[in-house]
Symmetry: C2
Subunit: 435 residues, 2 copies
């Protein structure tokens, strides 16, 4: 992509309304644009990052046999009357009337809708287990939206729902998804700790929140330091062991009753990026979604629901990956891998080298963003640092006089003066994990 | 994908509420599930097809320099008051009040939102041209939703918006997008004719609808038969020539004044799948989105908007690609390329051959859907025909006794008895255009 063709309205100044780093940087990097309170447009760069995050989540969901669907944004209130939640859900639920005066609502979650889909098709235990998910827009009418997309009203979320034969098999599903979530967050470059949570309006008797460790996290938590070793080997670690690690939000933690010795306890701040629930037959029973069991008797399948705040993950990624110059994307979520800068657009040798490099980088799948604009070198460096492309190549007459270009790693700052050919080889090698 | 792991609730009977073929087949093939009047859930198979359609549209948009964004679903009514449309738009617009009693609306289109984004960032003629698009859910509160997703209330749409320096450059943009649309529809396997249209509530003085020729189309149209030759070479045909071809909806056609001789006129039925508009400075002026011109004076950019009904395209594809046994997907939109059927699951040689084929087909990128369920051969053939996977491989003890499997083309019905290795080679060759 050539920057001259890309709608990337970066800002030099931080808008006054932004108080947390991810909000500031998402606005400054031209990722989002506020539409109204808690509602944002996602501009090309922000959308591209969010799509990468969503794709990683999707791949991990598909790996464990979950099936992707898309449920309606506007849900029928009558389904929520069946479950009893229409009147009980608070003002966070946006209620709507259509032209025929029928009650609809902008879905904040989809237990009722998915249970309705399930009951239309599932007739017997042979149709189980089923696990359906979507990655879609939700709305919660927060009384005081803040922190940009971190606590917005319209947000992008992965929500999944499982239907199982028995309590035991649901617990196995729950554990399988919990482990899959830990792998998902690890692939995204985040350290997430499962913390026993409050089921809230979803209901049920078992739930875990996933807290990403970040200095700027909104909540304080305590956890057993042995998690730091376990998290390195999620694949090989037994799920029971992962779930058995002590971790608690500050308000749930009591130093006197904590089973972990104080010297083994770590304190951290967290950002909640996911929440999973086991709630049994709460919805299948209230919505009459029974199926025939192996014994010929009707039973109500046992269920769980599983959410990841996708737009929130984008913000969390910035909270843990930035410096005073801007964002530093982990390569796996970055829409561009190499930021190519022409430091002197009027110099024909520089322009030719850039065009040649741009073409080679594209061919090699190194996803270049080429700053071909008529701007000064300082502005280009600052802009590329701000938007956080993992690697940079600066091409200017000075280094070109010895046939070289400058390759820089955005995170470490390490620099190399290399020939064009060596620069490409170097980057292919450095980025081979994502090529 | 193994069918035993896939949520594909196909129906043997056609639901009584469906009257058009695409609606019947989308329900029967487990693609969609009705939620409420004009609102559907998209099940895994339907969603996968729609994603393929959307991806082709996206690629063609990106090729001509359009930038993808995602705008809010819930839009601020105040923006629509600026343009004057909030009170003028009819009951198709779903109006909503949030908890603070502020007016919002579920966007039926996004001229106001995109003009607001534009005016925040564009300051001078140097920031032009800009063309932004999204592929997102819209809502129009149709008084009588019908024909499944063909005329639903919640629908998936590509909507794009251009901002240009002058009337002349906007007309060039308009023509560029018109041609790109024709290429897009051709890539999707559809014949679309641009027909001069009614701008309706969008406004403006130039617009074209794109009508897909289908026997089951809801509107009748007349067009110059020379279009049939031109459509084969859209890339090489001058856009003025394409736009100059006579084509008119029945209600706009007058045999007495028609410039085309009656023997050169063709009559057809059409399904509207796209609509583009040139409306000048209607929104930039009313919303005060002026920028500085090359002469130092403020001016209002000239604009157009460009829509494709993505969910409707899925239905249109079925209207023109089906037979009495079910859907016949064009390969470029089919989530699966090869339907592999185990005709006797209890036979170990059959099962082994299927597993081996499934593994090879996956490796080769031939996207197999493997029917590994414990069902009879007849049911499997009928199901695979219904869902329209372009190629089928049937594996059973009879043909296996001579070391062969049966390869069938869903559209032509042509069959070949081939060894496993030859079957794979044959399919790789037949499908090389999409591999």
């Amino acid at each position: 992509m050539k920057l001259s063709q890309y709608f990337l309205p970066t800002l030099k100044e931080t808008p006054a309304e932004a108080h947390v780093m991810s909000h500031k940087l998402m606005l400054r990097a031209g990722m989002i644009c506020q539409h109204s309170s808690g509602i944002y447009s996602w501009l090309p760069y922000g959308l591209a990052v969010m799509n990468r995050v969503a794709q990683i989540i999707r791949e991990e969901q598909n790996k464990i046999g979950c099936n992707e669907i898309t449920m309606p944004i506007l849900q029928d209130a009558d389904l929520w009357r069946e479950s009893g939640r229409f009147d009980n859900y608070g003002k966070e639920m946006l209620r709507v009337k259509d032209r025929h005066d029928r009650d609809l609502l902008f879905g904040p979650t989809a237990e009722e809708v998915v249970t309705d889909i399930f009951r239309r098709f599932a007739k017997s235990y042979k149709d189980l287990p089923v696990c359906l998910y979507q990655i879609h827009w939700k709305f919660r009418d927060e009384i005081r939206p803040r922190f940009g997309v971190m606590r917005g009203r319209e947000f992008f979320m992965k929500d999944g729902y499982s239907f199982d034969l028995s309590k035991e098999s649901t617990r196995e599903t729950y554990k399988k998804i919990l482990k899959s979530y830990l792998k998902t967050f690890k692939r995204l470059g985040l350290v997430a700790i499962p913390v026993k949570g409050d089921p809230g309006p979803i209901g049920g008797d078992l739930s875990h929140e996933f807290q990403v460790i970040a200095d700027t996290g909104e909540s304080k938590l305590f956890y057993d330091k042995k998690y730091d070793a376990l998290k390195e080997n999620i694949d090989e670690t037994d799920i029971e062991e992962l779930m058995g690690v002590y971790a608690a939000a500050e308000e749930m933690h009591d130093a006197n009753t904590c089973p972990v010795a104080s010297e083994d306890l770590k304190e951290a701040r967290g950002i909640e990026v996911g929440h999973i629930f086991y709630f049994g037959d709460k919805y299948t029973r209230s919505m009459n979604a029974g199926v025939m069991g192996p014994d010929g008797k009707m039973f109500y399948p046992e269920c769980g629901s599983y959410g990841i705040g996708v737009s929130r993950v984008v913000a969390a990624l910035i909270e843990v990956n930035h410096d005073d110059r801007g964002i530093i994307w982990p390569t796996q979520v970055s829409p561009f891998l190499v930021g190519l800068m022409n430091l002197k657009t009027k110099d024909s040798a520089t322009a030719e080298t850039c065009e040649r490099l741009y073409s080679i980088l594209n061919q090699k799948g190194l996803l270049p963003l080429y700053d071909d604009r008529d701007e000064g070198a300082g502005a280009k460096f600052a802009n590329m640092d701000l938007i956080g492309v993992p690697w940079q190549i600066a091409v200017g007459p000075k280094s070109l006089s010895t046939g070289q270009v400058e390759v820089k790693n955005r995170r470490s700052g390490e620099c190399h003066l290399l020939s064009v050919e060596d620069a490409v080889k170097f980057l292919e090698d450095a980025l081979k994990s994502v090529l």
